[in-house]
């Protein structure tokens, strides 16, 4: 029986990385299109970020600075676990500051601080197919993407309005990429959708279990689906963050006592922290685009 097993930089062998990078390049060349790739079993379970981890592992270099967040926070258990994984297998510098990171791996949120050219954000994706819950068969959805046959998605939105008076999708809100491909932004709240549009950063999406990679190159047009007379509306919170006072960030609801006591705080812990300490050179901005 073997003793200590030694792993390559960032765990994956070079051949696997090459295969994944080829898929990434293809994805960048066809914004919003889901590229199949042979997913490897990783040391964490499928559904827990293996797609994002494989993408990050394939692009990570020794001089990168890595930030890992889950639900917007650096300290949630799975973010900690993944950050430790890369610290151990790649020895790269890690950070909690969005502006310092060259690669940000995220689950379910886009950081509040606008990203810059040269940054890469890697999204963890559970179900890459935006039509999946309308059409379970992959053979069918593949045809629909090839033929730009997206009527079914709009029918769903029509049904929502007919039934609820609103489009009833709160997260993983479907978008059109460069007016060609229908894409699932991953389960980020619809609040974050506008951040994807014309972002200066490279956005990569990894779905390990479903074996798909897709991408948005910098400055890609990303438009949330809607009707002219029921336009996409970003969620607005009625109160500011109880810790830093921000009025334009996504807030977590925290239950504080047994009698219904509640407070709302920024989900992006780094952003909130930054506003509270207001260190020189890191001015908090109240005005949003």
């Amino acid at each position: 029986m073997t003793g200590v097993v030694s792993y390559n930089f960032a765990y994956l062998d070079e051949q696997s990385k090459r295969t994944i990078r080829r898929a990434i390049l293809k994805a960048i060349a066809i914004p919003g299109y889901q590229v199949p790739f042979p997913s490897r079993e990783m040391p964490m379970p499928y559904g827990w970020g293996t797609g994002g981890v494989q993408v990050t592992a394939s692009i990570l270099g020794p001089h990168d600075i890595l930030k890992v967040i889950d639900q917007g926070a650096d300290d949630t258990t799975n973010a900690v676990s993944i950050r430790q994984f890369f610290a151990r297998t790649a020895g790269v510098r890690t950070t909690t500051h969005t502006s310092e990171a060259s690669i940000i791996q995220t689950r379910h949120r886009i950081p509040e601080a606008p990203l810059a050219e040269g940054q890469i954000i890697v999204y963890q994706v559970p179900i890459p197919e935006p039509l999946r819950f309308l059409e379970p068969r992959e053979s069918e959805t593949r045809q629909m993407h090839a033929l730009e046959d997206y009527g079914l998605m709009h029918v769903k939105l029509y049904e929502d309005i007919a039934r609820h008076g609103h489009i009833a999708t709160a997260y993983a809100y479907p978008v059109m990429v460069e007016a060609r491909y229908l894409m699932d932004p991953s389960p980020t709240p619809k609040f974050d959708n506008p951040k994807m549009h014309m972002s200066p950063a490279l956005q990569l999406f990894g779905a390990g279990r479903e074996q798909r990679i897709y991408a948005l190159p910098p400055y890609t047009r990303v438009v949330s689906l809607d009707f002219d007379d029921h336009p996409f509306a970003r969620t607005r919170f009625e109160q500011p963050c109880a810790l830093c006072g921000a009025r334009d960030t996504y807030l977590d609801e925290v239950v504080t006592d047994d009698s219904g006591g509640r407070m709302f705080v920024c989900s992006d812990t780094d952003y909130c922290q930054g506003r509270r300490t207001a260190a020189p050179g890191r001015e908090a901005h109240d005005e949003r685009r």
Partner: protein
Amino acid sequence: MYVAAKGGEAAIAAAHQLLARERRGDQNLPELSADQIREQLALAVNRVMGEGSLYDGDLAAVAIKQARGDLIEAIFLLRAYRATLPRLGYAEPVDTGAMRLRRRISATYKDLPGGQMLGPTFDYTHRLLDPSPAVAAPPSPQRPAQPADSSVPQVTQLLDREGLIETNAGADGDAIGDLTRTPVAFPAGRDLRLQALARADEGFLLGLAYSTQRGYGRTHPFAAEIRMGEVEVEFTPEELGFAVPLGRITLTECEMVNQFQGSATQPPQFTRGYGLAFGHAERKAMTMALLDRALRSEDLGQERVAPAQDQEFVLAHCDNVQATGFVEHLKLPHYVDFQAELALLRQLRAEWLAARGGDRKDVAARVGDGVAQ
């Protein structure tokens, strides 16, 4: 003053320690060894090798110990380890016809060349729970052990001689897919389907196979042959140009014979279902054979009426490593999306109530729209 909860890292470290402690259990009891597991829990080891897709009894035993007996967790460990191993190439197809048999039965014939050899089986045992099973003395052999150089013909060969059973076109080596190299696209060929079934969760296959026997996509199966024993694995290195034996592995093979109506161009023939598993693993081999045939229904011109016949359904959900990952991922924080749903729901409720009378504040109080105290 609320302070955001920190300490995720420390919590994880403590959880790992607790896990190690629980894994060891009562210190007064002797520690289980991987060798004991490999020898005395061999059927668990076989399952882990099969679904872990790696033939190594020692490693499978270690995985079972590390996983505290959770076989799917052990399978996951083995699969993850497999993914780190360098791949040298593909072996030559194993010749199960030349298997050194330890067990061989056929339900389609009372007696046949090679005979019915029961081997080590739970069949015909009485399931009486026995805290200390007596270790039986090895039985005196009633007939000589099968000589190493004689081959016992496969039942399907007997049927084939009369043209009664479909023959499978041999596949050119390059034409065989590899589901670990390219993701499965539907519709998938039989080669990829069999590969998926070979590593599929036994429980999932069992339920589906059972459903076919109860009318959900009936295939009229007969167990033509189940054989278990050792086969030689050979590999042809490029430099040598000829096959070199690597060693022997234990396999369980099941060939099912199923009914079929002939077509305008073909006389009626039996159709086949095939199952193959690492080690002694009959339930796996049998359910695999039943599912193989069920998934061929459309290819054989039959209507798809049941889940077991639906390859997209079966293949997308049969891998327990994927399945457990996604099911268990529900334990991960989802509060951001839940918050979005809460906001939407509160809005819809407010509008619903407002449409039925009541002022905004009153409505807000009833639906609780999260005004901080």
